[in-house]
């Protein structure tokens, strides 16, 4: 009889118990998979940040303005390849509660610095020519049913026009796609010039600048050059790599990583307790049988491996099913219009999950396996 067959027979001896323990493992890994995918989506802003891109903001806070004259000064700095200035528009579509992430940008520089935003040649041309143009991400286009050629009203909860209206009309000239699957495609972009000429607050202020360096190696020097240039001016700057900026932004929400890790730990603790106990019990029920096997000449080491194999197999089956189910759960969530990028599990994450399942199997099986290993034939047979 092969060991695998013995393990299989032992596992399926009590189908109900097998089902319940596999199910508990399944649930824990379903949670693990989905949460890992969620974390991945959340981190995608950091992960997809370009290494050669910096963000220059007002040193007081990134919501404070900078003068537009800074743009040309930064462009002239050695090591800088491109600079785009951006303004937060405070946009919404139709109703103020229907938040639409809208940025007013330098239309030409924007496409150069943020090259993960992809438009067709025709769309690019239209975007550059029409000052009332708006480009929208395909996620938002799908959500609101927008097509190229539509003229849409975009409201602002900050700015208003000279006539007091806080709604602007724009021509959709392009629906951009993201270069990466997780690139943000919910935002929309408009021309800064048109925005600034029509808004009634006045002033030539920009929100912040995206700066592309010639080489990521030059980042530190460029950062220093930019910030030194404006030191002691009424508008001091703070320049950081895009990655750091994104990280700090997510940290503003709170320690989400800690929350997610705690949830996963809790889920794993549950199965540890349930499956571990179940394994102890099922081996104890088999005391006499193990005694017989030892009498028949089964070596202790082999029995140890049989028990451990049983618990590992159980964890791998339950874990595998859970991860598989989490892929479906994520696909379903990705289909629905969420502001979050797609949730993904890459192959490395799947491998980690299986590693966890294997560890879990070893941990839950180790105590009964050792007691089976140590079991003395005489005690085993008398206890029965």
């Amino acid at each position: 009889m092969s060991d695998l067959f013995l393990i299989y027979k032992n596992l399926t001896r009590k189908p109900l118990r097998l089902f319940l323990t596999v199910f508990a493992t399944f649930i824990a890994f379903l949670i693990y998979g989905t949460i890992t995918g969620f974390q991945n989506a959340l981190d995608s802003g950091v992960e997809l940040s370009a290494d050669d891109r910096l963000v220059t903001v007002n040193k007081i806070n990134f919501t404070q303005p900078l003068p537009i004259s800074y743009v040309n000064k930064v462009k002239a700095i050695e090591g800088v390849q491109g600079v785009v200035h951006m303004n937060w528009f405070g946009g919404y579509y139709q109703d103020p509660s229907q938040f639409l992430q809208t940025f007013a940008v330098d239309e030409k520089a924007f496409l150069e610095v943020y090259d993960e935003i992809t438009l067709t040649e025709e769309e690019t041309k239209a975007w550059l020519q029409n000052n009332q143009a708006i480009i929208v991400g395909d996620t938002s286009a799908e959500k609101y049913g927008w097509k190229v050629g539509d003229r849409i009203p975009v409201g602002s909860n900050i700015f208003s026009q000279a006539d007091g209206s806080s709604v602007w009309d724009f021509d959709i000239v392009g629906i951009y796609k993201g270069r990466d699957r997780q690139t943000d495609t919910t935002s929309v972009y408009i021309h800064y010039k048109y925005f600034n000429e029509t808004q009634s607050f006045g002033g030539n202020y920009i929100g912040w600048m995206g700066v592309r360096t010639v080489d990521p190696k030059l980042n530190e020097q460029v950062i220093k050059r930019i910030d030194d240039m404006f030191v002691n001016s009424p508008f001091e700057t703070e320049t950081v790599p895009e990655k750091a900026f994104q990280k700090a932004f997510i940290a503003q929400i709170g320690n989400i990583g800690l929350i997610l890790t705690s949830v996963v730990a809790a889920a794993f603790f549950i199965i540890l307790v349930i499956v571990g106990n179940s394994m102890v019990l099922s081996v104890r029920e088999r005391t006499a049988e193990i005694g017989v096997m030892k009498t028949l000449g089964f070596r202790s080491g082999r029995i140890f491996r049989l028990v451990l194999g049983e618990s590992v197999l159980l964890a791998l089956v339950g874990g595998g099913l859970g991860i598989f189910a989490s892929l479906f759960a994520m696909a379903a969530i990705n289909q629905s219009p969420t502001p979050l990028p797609d949730m993904l599990l890459d192959s490395a994450a799947v491998q980690t999950a299986f590693a966890y399942a294997a560890i879990l199997g070893l941990v839950t099986g180790i105590i009964p396996a050792i007691s089976a290993l140590r079991l003395n034939i005489i005690t085993a047979l008398t206890r029965a």
Binding site: T21, I27, T63, S97, F235, G254, V263, I274
Partner: protein, 395 residues
Amino acid sequence: MSGIFSQIKAVVMMNVRSLPRRLWMSLAAIFAVSVVVAVLLSFLSMARGFQQTLEGTGSEDVAIVTRSGSRSELNSSLSRETANIISTAPGIAQDGKGDPIYSAELYVIVDGIKRASQTEANLPMRGISVEGFDLRDQVSITEGRVFIPGNNEIIVGEGVLREFDGFELGKKIRFGKTEWEVVGVFSTGGSAFESELWADARTVQTQFQRGGFQTVRVRLAETGNVSGLIQMVEQDPRLILDVETEADYFAEQGEALGAIVIIGWIISGVMALGSLAGALNTMYTSVSSRAVEIATLRALGFSNFSAFVGTLAESIVLSVVGGVLGALISFGFMDGLSASTMGASFTQVVFTFELTPELFQDGIFLALLIGVIGGFFPAWRAARLPVAIAFQRGN
């Protein structure tokens, strides 16, 4: 009838008393339930704490006036002229001298270093006048003194002090070119204002190059009655404003973590399925280990209903113990925990987790649900156990 009850009572007591015999399996069920309940209550107490902080901030006696459609203080802007017009609206309470009680305030965002992450986060800095203090209940200076108008001085809320570095009394902070000194710490009884830095309105206007204000707050002559203000806004075409009571304004912001409640229930609901499997496992094991006992009782004339109730009761006891344990764990770790998150005004709101009695009930409810379902099917089996076969198996 009393026969059935005494039977049930006897069986339940027997089951519960024999629990230590099945110690490990019983503990597994208890722990599994306790973890689920702890997870649920941790999420719920977070959302509740945030909501209570914001709801406790707004007053029914104060109206807040913002630019129409701005939805938050940060996005709003009002000119000096508008602020003056608002102060003449009917329905505003008056002070002893017959002047309207109102406060025109600025709201700008500055950086603070969050202790937990050591990263920069958005802190609201409010330009306010000492008269503005009167529009908030329970403002008290707990350390130092109030800022002197015209000086670059700030007072910081207790929440800021708790969650952010570098705002201790006497510290100097640079915002742009100017340096500000922390001259006092204030408390507002745990409300969201404690997440703010306060400075003199005119000084903030000068140092941040701002002409107008963000909001105007007025004390209402009659609690909750904003009709006078609304009427004036509707009639004057120069005023494109939203008026609402401060209580309504903050209640809306308190809903920002509503999604956490849903997420908490979904995660713990899915986890509950896992621990339900554990409960079922424990109870089926319990039934099969008590097979002889159950059969004996049945042979003695106990009804199968008493066997059913006995098993169900055992399961419920285990899960309720687990639920209470989980609630206590959550209470111990979470209740009173201070945290800060991004609020609707794009600034940090410092709040404390609140594990209220209602939430405790929610936790016990979830535990009971697991106990009842996890006990029902095994109890069914116990009730239908054929007596003869049970004896055979026992031998």
